[in-house]
Subunit: 130 residues, 2 copies
DNA sequence: ATATATGCAAACGCTTTGCATAGAG
DNA sequence: CTCTATGCAAAGCGTTTGCATATAT
């Protein structure tokens, strides 16, 4: 190596402290700024891509077309709250047996899946009630 | 009304004849061209948006960031084949019970879901074998 | 006349890349 | 000296919009 990758390192520690959040590049840049790391957008982009390629984080694309990044830990799906626009991790509700059956029947092979539930998160649901 | 919407009509009949396909705007434009309807890209875009708003078709966004349109019929999920890049409809493999349980436990409400399986479709799987 | 559909071209939003600079080994 | 990280600015790419024109009612 020939120089210390400040941005990548800062990104990882930032995300590790709030790993319940799916970050847009803008979020990440703002998050770094809050920690006095003034990184250029392209640097954030490149660092995030590199981390994703390395498998440390995962890249997602929402219906709104913007990329989101999150720490890669145990698999989970997502709930996209239409009220607060957060992308919230939720336990996987895929029926493994059904998935396997589908593979067997159809002759296709499923490597991964991306499930996004759309609705209202618990917090917004509560706020609405009160 | 003040003029006959050629593009919307042509789009619908086009899609009805190959409703097993998820169309990008480019696909749609090319499909129309094959039927001697030379529509501008923006016209295709507007017609597709209008049809989607009217509920005749559905708009999806893939990881690649491009919008796809498909006829709205019975709910199904999708298999995105990484080899041929097709977006293939597959029966829904969501475990309804698990989904309902999740709603109850978490206090959130799920209106819809979008599930994209990623892997290899049966056709490509076969081609690979042979 | 009025309202809508269409084409053309330009604006947009987000992502991605080229190039020059800087700093660690 | 070499190799990578970073910033800056510009290019890309698909989507979206403004405006003028055409056409059916």
């Amino acid at each position: 190596m020939a120089r210390t990758p400040i941005v990548s390192t800062a990104l990882l520690s930032l995300m590790r402290e709030r790993h319940h959040h799916a970050w847009t590049l803008e979020d990440l840049q703002a998050g770094l700024a809050g920690r006095d790391v003034a990184a250029d957008f392209s640097s954030v982009f490149r660092a995030a891509e590199k981390l994703a390629a390395a498998g440390d984080i995962r890249k997602l694309t929402l219906e709104d077309g913007r990329a989101r990044f999150e720490l890669r830990d145990a698999h989970h799906d997502h709930l996209h709250c239409l009220r607060c626009d957060e992308l919230i991790p939720v336990p996987c509700v895929i029926d493994q047996a059904a998935s396997a059956a589908f593979e067997a029947e159809s002759g296709s092979r499923v490597a991964e899946h991306s499930l996004v539930l759309t609705g209202t998160c618990a917090t917004c649901q509560d706020n609405n009630a009160s």
